[in-house]
Each structure stands twice: as C-alpha cells, then as structure tokens.
C-alpha cells in the first residue's frame, strides 16, 4: 500500500528529521520519501493521504508489559483482540507476559503465540516464564524457549524470594545472551496485602503493604546485579524510595533499567475511597508523593520505560468484593492519554519516543526503528493537543475493566503504520 502523511512533526531522536515538520511517503512497508513538502503530482493516484492538524509521527511505540489472556482465558482477551487494542493505543509492538493459563514456559507455548500473532500490524514479542509455573524454584528451559522466539524471561509479578535461584537465573540468562525482568516485592513484608500502607487505607480497614517491601527487594536486586555483572530490568516501580535506590545504583554504574506502570503516574491510593475494584492493582496505588517522584524519575531518565500493564479481566473477576477481585486494569487504549495527563506540559515528543520506543527496544535487545528514507516504516501518529473523552468506543479489548471511562485526555493517538499496514485509531 501507499500512504502519504502530510505535515507531521517527526519524533525520532536518531533521525535527521527529528523535530522537523515534513511530509512522509510510505510505499509497501518502507519510507520512500521524507521531505518538507511532497507534491501530490509526484505520488500515485491510489495513495492514501492522511492530513491531521498538529500531529507528531513517532517511531513506533512498544508496550513492554501486556497480558493477552490466550491461552486459557480467551473470554477476557485473545491475541487478536489484544493486538487490536494495542493498535488503538498507538503500539506497533507489545511484549506479552508469560502468566497465561497455563504459563508460557516451553518452546511449544512460545511458538503457539508467535503463530497466532502473525500477519498483524502489531508485532507480538513473548516473555517466557523464568521458573516452572512462575513459582520461583526451578529454572525453565530458557534457551529452548529463546529458539522458539522468546526474547526475555520473567515470572511476571512474582518476586523470586530465593536469592540463590535469582542469581543463577541471571547468570544463565547472561550465558545465552538474554535478559531477565524482575518484580520487586519482599513477601515477608507485603504479606497478602492488597493496598498500600497509608493513612488512607487505614481508614478503609486495610493492613496495607509498606513501600519498603518494594524498596528492600529493589536493593537486593541491585546487589545481585552488581554481583553477577548482568543486566536486570526492574518492573513495576511504584514508590519514591525504590526510585531513589535505582537512581543511586545507576549513578554507580550498575546495569539496571526500570519501568513504571502508567497508572502509577496518575493515580494514588486516594482513588480507593469507594473500594472500586478497577483501582485494585499490583503493586498497589501509593501516595501522591510517590506519583510525583515517579514522574520526576521518568523525566530525568531514572525510569527508562513506561508500560500499560494491560490486564484484561471479566466482570466475574471484578464485580465482587474488593478482596476477591482480580488485580489490574486494561491499559493499552488509554495509556497515551494517561501518560500525557500525568506528564502535563513536561511531555515532549522526544520524551515520548524515548520511553515508549527507543528504551524498550534497547533494553530488550531489539533492532532500533528509525524514520529515514529506505528504512522499514514502523511509526505512531499522534496529536499533541487534541482533547477527547475516553469512552467504550475506544476500547478494542474484550474486557472493560478500566477506571478511566469518561475521563478527558489531551493528546490522542491517530493511528499506526507497521508491517505494511495502516490502522486508524478510533
């Protein structure tokens, strides 16, 4: 197909066109011409032309943490519906977590996902389960899964409590030139708590998990990273104290990277006042102070990546008592709106490109994408200032568990181009 995108600001820190307003002509999956203006006479008549006001064309975004519920819970999300949700949210690629039912922990499991996700605009990458049943005890066959297409390994949101197992996992990942994503949680401190420990949750009758449960485990992971000399990516940073540990470690040159779930930038535990189960997330929503510290960390680069943590759940899992409700919210379709709302005027096209595209690919060891002539076209078109209200028509997921319904956002995804396909966002 042929596509001409008129007068867009390029958001690609590696491109000579970065920050410039240009016309971009794409032919059969590649950037053909990029110029300040391309005359209509020079392009074939069957070219689709997109003309939007005040838009940026970013290198394609990648969501580094999504859950599509196939296999096992296809009523919540299938690989296909998840890909549609990703495209709606502006993501040309996603990394899927291994905690489906059953877990993705063999080469055959990985190949199933790879096969099912083919021929779609959205490229699916799979994280394999690091340990058997994500139980934190016994390593899975990582190399075999890698041969099947798994690019990284983790136990999703389960911390490996046994430091010996974690250390050997990191060393082995180094052997086969792959990486581990870790989740920080000291279970002795967090116990079975489902909220943050704070005055707000005290008033709601919850014991609460102290943020030191995260901080202490991040400290342990930093020490293991230093000891093994490997690279470690820490997922789900939610507290100011954990940010500090990461900042100090990075200053010392420890090879760690970190990601934050986008809703942690915007929502605090004050949202729990009505016991709304869509606010039940893991790690729990923390305080306003933590939100501010996380935003600062995204801006200064202490936190490398912002992810949606897309976690579809059906009403049977959410319209129940708070204690019995499943954790998580869907997030792909609203991620950019939420991110813009949290960052406010500190958001720049280059920051967006960095945290949603450059850094995820770098951390996962994937080839970088770039907006340059004769390169493969992989891009996200978004408006910087369009005001819109998030409603069910924007949701492509099979699930509806979001607290952002009817929220006003500024900045909107218009569509993606990837794998030779243009997908318009609602």
């Amino acid at each position: 197909m042929k596509l001409l995108i008129r007068q867009v600001e390029i958001a690609d820190p590696t491109s000579a066109f970065n920050g410039k307003i240009v016309d971009v002509f794409i032919v059969d999956g590649n950037y053909h011409t990029i110029a300040s203006s391309i005359s209509t006479e020079k392009i074939p008549a069957d070219t689709q032309i997109i003309e939007e006001k005040n838009c940026c064309l970013s290198i394609g975004w990648m969501d580094m943490r999504s859950n599509f519920r196939e296999p096992g819970e296809e009523q919540k999300e299938t690989i296909k519906s998840g890909q549609e949700a990703a495209a709606q949210g502006g993501f040309t690629a996603v990394l899927l977590m291994p905690s489906t039912k059953p877990e993705i922990q063999t080469r055959a499991d990985v190949e199933f996902v790879m096969k099912k996700s083919e021929a779609n605009a959205v490229t699916v990458f799979q994280a394999g389960a690091l340990t058997k049943d994500c139980a934190g005890k016994e390593l899975n066959e990582l190399y075999d899964m890698q041969l099947g297409g798994a690019i990284v390994f983790c136990d999703d949101k389960r911390s490996i409590a046994d430091s010996g197992v974690m250390m050997r996992a990191m060393q082995y990942a180094g052997n086969i030139n792959t990486r581990i994503i870790a989740y920080a949680d000291d279970k002795g401190l967090s116990r079975e708590s489902i909220t943050n420990e704070s005055a707000v949750t005290t008033l709601l009758g919850f014991k609460g998990s102290p943020s030191i449960a995260e901080e202490i485990d991040v400290q342990r992971l930093v020490t293991l990273t230093e000891y093994t000399g490997q690279h470690l990516h820490i997922s789900g940073v939610s507290s100011k104290a954990a940010v500090e540990v990461i900042r100090n470690a990075k200053a010392r040159g420890v090879k760690i990277s970190a990601e934050v779930y986008v809703y942690h930038l915007l929502l605090s535990d004050e949202s729990l006042n009505e016991f709304g189960t869509n606010y039940k997330v893991k790690p729990p929503l923390r305080s306003e102070v933590d939100c501010k510290a996380l935003i600062d960390a995204v801006i200064d680069g202490t936190i490398d990546v912002v992810v949606s943590d897309h976690s579809p759940e059906d009403p049977e899992s959410k319209v129940v008592e708070f204690d019995y409700a499943a954790f998580g919210m869907i997030g792909l379709e609203s991620a950019f709106g939420v991110l813009q709302k949290a960052l406010g005027n500190r958001s720049t096209p280059n920051l967006i490109a960095k945290i949603l595209s450059v850094n995820p690919r770098k951390i996962l060891g994937l080839p970088t994408v770039s907006i340059q002539e004769n390169k493969k076209a992989d891009c996200t078109l978004f408006s910087k200032d369009e005001e819109w209200v998030f409603t069910s028509k924007h949701i492509k997921s099979l699930s509806r568990n979001t607290p952002f319904m009817d929220m006003k956002f500024i900045g909107k995804v218009k569509g993606i181009y990837s794998n030779s396909q243009w997908v318009t966002a609602e």
Partner: protein, 308 residues
C-alpha cells in the same frame, strides 16, 4: 434538629454527620424507654421485612439486631453463610438479590472483607446496614459505645478515650475513633507496636504504647478483644506476655489517681484484656453496652426505614 438521617444506608461512621449521630442517640433514648416498659414492642416497622445476612460468625451482634427488629415488629429472616449457596460459589450480589426477590426491604450484613457493605449498596436496592465488614467498620458498635459513655458520664465532647489492644485487626477501633472524633472526644490508641497501624496518628489519633500512661491520660478505656482468629501471623510471643503488658487488672486500676470507665465490645477473654474483677466492677459498663446495643439498633433501623 432534622428528624431524618442524611444517609440511606448505614455503611460506616465515616458517612455520618454529627447531627445524624445526635438523631440516632435521641431516637435510641426513646426506644430504651420502650425496652424498659412491661410491653417492650412497638409497631413502627410493621410490614417491613429485614434480612440478617451473616457471612461471618457472630453471636451478640446478630442477637442484638434480631431482637431490635422484633421489638420494632419487623418481619425477620436470618441467613448465615455456612451451608448456604455462598459455599456453592454464588456471588454476593446474586445471593442478596435472590433474597431481595422475596420482597425484603432492609439488609443487615456482616462480612469478613472490608468494603463489602459499600459494594453491596452500589448493586442492590434495599437499605443496607453494615454489621461489621472485616477490619473496616462496625458502625452500630461505635454508636452504642458512644451512647453508653454519654449515658454514664453525661457527655462525650472533651472526654479522653483510649482504645486498647489489637487496633490493626479491629473494625470496632476504626468506627469508634471516627464516632468519638465527630462527637468532640480526644482519642488515643494503645497496644503493641505491631498491632497499631503505622499511619493512624495521621487521622488525628494519639498513640501510646505504655498502658499505664494511657490509662493515666484517659477518662474512658475501651478494651478490645485480641482477635486471634484474624491474626495470620504471630504479632507477639504469647498471650501471657500480652497480659503482662496490656492486660487491665484491679491493682492497676486502683493505682490510678482517678476512676475511669471501662468498656469492652465483647466477647471478653477474661484474664486477657481485663481480669474478672475489673469486668465485674462498678467501673465496667459492659452490660450497659449490650443493653444499649438493642436500643441503638432499633433507632438505626427505624430511622433508615423512614428514608425509604
């Protein structure tokens, strides 16, 4: 004073205005008079059907509600979770809607999880009375405690009340704190560090870990039961040591320079929170609390029925 509550449900003290509490107290005073008459029954809730749904064990709260409902001439049905459809996997909403389909007007619910009463109120049409939701609130207990204090020493405003024991696992503590604060009392909590929520001082409560100091400070001590069944891990080495540090006995009470009032929401572990001679002393108003519980619950049911 308005003769109607500002709320349709009693989900927690948090939602009540001071005026609501005063209205409940004045109504309870009238009902207490009724309870002391030869004929203890009034027709106020004739034609109202109330379901008592107890998804967690309870003896006195359930009896107290049931008696209050019967004294008001309501029709009463009782439901407890053991052996019911809940154990077959039915959801709370379905269970309650099935009961409401039998034309039930009000629901009194006890549940083991925080926020359950609020959750239910958003999904069903009946008036909901929270009879305890996990470690969150137990509003009628707090109301009857404050009512009993007021009855005994005239006023709650300006009084110093200490709540002693397992604050972390207590719904009574949280409701009491909110209720007493709304009525102008000063509140302190006292207990082992691990059983005091870390951020409780941020809600305007004083914290004291030394029992003697707490008792010297207060006018009223509300002694909570140690909730062994809600403690998933050991918070202190043994009950024996707990008693040594936080048990109230007669010697301790008599060594204070003043006479303080002793409350206990029951059931008492005699010899643990308080010794028998304290429980049975003139300073203890434990049985007054039980008596007032019926009057308070009558008042709450009656006033909520007016909002229908």
């Amino acid at each position: 004073m308005s003769n109607q509550l500002s709320v349709r449900h009693l989900l927690g003290i948090k939602d009540l205005q001071k005026e609501d509490i005063e209205l409940i107290f004045s109504t309870a005073t009238n009902f207490k008079d009724v309870l002391n008459r030869p004929i203890k029954k009034v027709p106020s809730l004739r034609d109202i059907t109330i379901a008592n749904l107890f998804f967690e064990n309870s003896t006195r709260t359930k009896l107290s509600f049931e008696l209050a409902e019967k004294r008001l001439s309501a029709d009463v049905i009782n439901f407890s979770a053991s052996g019911s459809s809940v154990s077959k996997g039915e959801t709370l909403i379905d269970t309650v809607n099935n009961i409401l389909a039998m034309k039930v007007d009000m629901v009194v619910m006890r549940h083991s999880k925080p926020g359950s009463a609020i959750f239910l109120s958003k999904h069903v049409h009946a008036n909901i009375i929270n009879a305890g939701d996990g470690t969150h609130e137990h509003p009628t207990q707090a109301l009857l405690d404050a009512f009993s204090i007021r009855e005994k020493i005239g006023n709650v405003e300006g009084k110093k009340v200490v709540i002693v024991g397992d604050i972390l696992h207590s719904r009574v503590a949280l409701s009491n704190i909110l209720c007493l604060q709304k009525l102008g009392a000063e509140v302190m909590v006292c207990g082992p560090v691990a059983l005091i929520p870390r951020y409780i001082s941020e809600i305007g409560v004083q914290v004291e870990y030394n029992l003697r100091k707490a008792l010297e400070w207060c006018d009223v001590a509300n002694m909570l039961r140690i909730q062994m069944e809600r403690q998933d891990i050991k918070y202190f080495p043994s009950l024996r040591e707990y008693v040594m540090l936080y048990g109230v006995n007669k010697v301790l009470l008599e060594s204070l320079k003043k006479e303080i009032l002793i409350l206990h929401p029951g059931p008492i572990n005699r010899g643990v929170e308080i010794t028998s001679d304290v429980a049975d002393s003139s300073q203890s108003i434990i049985l007054n609390q039980v008596e007032n519980g019926v009057a308070i619950r009558m008042a709450v049911l009656f006033l909520l029925a007016q909002t229908r």
